[in-house]
Subunit: 337 residues, 2 copies
């Protein structure tokens, strides 16, 4: 399928919308597969799955698979299956992230899976995860199964590492980068790479798309971490302070903690560490992040990764898909989504 | 590898020990793979995984894969990978079964994952599940990936169905059979089937081993359900009454409920249904199960499935493996393990 005429990649407009436009027909096929594969005679499964898949929102990961495959000239149907598979892996991780421990209820996270409870969230996540492998099997490609099963293991390891760094503002930046490479960037990387793999592209090209996805995923997560403290974004539908109230250790916190006075470090230990957060604490957190330029620095790190993502595509011939993927990387930095 | 001379399948002795003896060398390789694939730089992963895999115990499912492959004359190394893969799927489901909801704490289940908590159990389960697919990928066989990814989806669906029948003593027997086919028998079936698949056997033979595993799994679960109420087994290390205290609806309960008086049904609704269990209730439950011959009837249903399991092997040439697999099915009925 040639790029539709409506494709007009923008320099700094809504690059994501442009990318979406390029693969709109493909995405419609993906959505059909998603609906088909979440069915089960056990009615709680489609009920809960449609809740999470519908609210999953941006469909960023399947977008990467579809556009990577198309940029590589792929014309078959397997990119739909793989796009649905990566979305299912993402949905399963969202469901499993919702699982809470008793001790976490004080952080106010319990609402996430309040509707169905821990057990149902876990089991329906397992179902979607299994379905993602069935979708991969239906491509007949052992290579994509290798890439996505490794990505799944990396995601789980990243999430476990995040668990062990939770509440520890003295976390190393290197450990934190490993967390986000695992929990976010590994799936972005695999999602992009498999697009090139099913198109039968050479190792340098599959590796380039993997790098694109990895760097984009890191940038994306860092921007997300920054937005959580950026009051200006509140008007755009983001809730500010969720990470703070949940005791999540993110790059802005680590920077402020490393540079902070003993008194400031005590503040981070009480809030992020012990979960002892009062109403005024978010304002104080934001003041400290400003004092140490943490949010801007996080943005600069994100920008470097976004630039690396765009650069990785240099070995591909210029076409509308490549342009849109580059624009998404640039736009990621200024994003309000 | 020819069956070792020490193979002496017994008619009604410890058939499981005989089967273990036949594939002891294979199992040693499987144990190496299990250790290797549970490693991670994130130290909580091997720590938690070794706890569950070590306590996983009987290694029944890998035993099926190994002996099915050997019965079919398989001589390669992929049966080790698949045996480790099915054990990892089993371990992941155990970890995910440990996840509790707040509302379940009253049933005393919280101890199961008390050491590390819900979140770690879920994420390490996800890690092992991903690793199981990496092991399958390393066999290079799309067919085994198809079989085991479908089994995984069936397991998850069976567990969700169990969740929706929990606390409902009026559950249909057909629904209950679907639960145990999903949560237990589907993995037994796949574990046995893939042994024939990697040996390159014909569809009737792979199907026969699938049937063997399915019927054995059903029999195994029914015997397990019976043992939970069988006081005579307490001396053998089983804790009697766990299912009762957890409000699990099993075949003995369903039979007693269906045949019970209104007063007796009220008893099951209060205990199994509402989780309102006092110290004397287990004794009353056992009295009602005896009154309606529920345990013996459960045993008879199990015996029929065990017979069907053994019969399914008729199309294979007689050898020590076939004999041991048949004996395991017979012995399952009288088992104390």
């Amino acid at each position: 399928m040639a790029p539709p005429d409506t494709a007009r990649p923008t320099q700094n407009g809504d690059a994501l919308a442009a990318l979406r436009g390029l693969v709109a027909d493909d995405m419609a096929e993906v959505n059909h597969l998603i609906i088909e594969y979440m069915q089960s005679p056990v009615s709680l499964i489609p009920e809960l799955a449609s809740y999470i898949v519908a609210s999953g929102g941006k469909r960023l990961r399947p977008l990467l698979t579809l556009s990577a495959a198309r940029m590589c000239g792929y014309e078959g149907a397997d990119h739909w299956r793989l796009a649905a598979a990566v979305e299912f892996i993402h949905a399963a991780t969202l469901l499993h992230d919702d699982v809470v421990d008793e001790s976490d209820l004080r952080r106010g996270k319990a609402t996430a899976n309040a509707v169905w409870g821990n057990q149902a969230s876990v089991l329906v996540g397992d179902f979607l995860f299994s379905r993602s492998f069935q979708l991969m099997v239906n491509t007949g490609s052992i290579d994509v199964l290798r890439i996505l099963s490794e990505a799944s293991a990396t995601i789980a390891a990243g999430e476990v590492l995040q668990l062990t760094t939770a509440g520890e503002p003295a976390t190393d930046i290197a450990d934190y980068m490993q967390v986000i490479e695992g929990k976010t960037a590994a799936l972005f990387a695999a999602a992009a790479e498999v697009g090139a793999v099913i198109a039968g592209r050479s190792p340098p090209e599959t590796e380039a798309l993997r790098t694109y996805g990895m760097e984009l995923g890191i940038a994306f997560q860092l921007v997300d971490d920054r937005l959580d403290y950026d009051a200006d974004q509140a008007a755009l539908g983001k809730t500010v302070g969720d990470d703070f109230r949940e005791g999540k250790v993110t790059l802005p916190i680590i920077i402020a903690y490393q540079n902070g006075t003993a008194q400031e470090q005590a503040f981070w230990k009480r809030t992020i560490g012990d979960g002892n957060v009062s109403d005024d604490d978010l304002e104080e957190a934001q003041r400290l992040l400003l004092k140490y330029d943490s949010l801007a620095e996080t943005g600069r790190v994100a920008a470097r990764h976004a630039t690396a993502a765009a650069s990785a595509l240099a070995l591909f011939p210029r076409n509308a898909y490549r342009q849109a993927l580059e624009d998404v990387a640039s736009y990621c930095i200024a994003r309000a989504y």
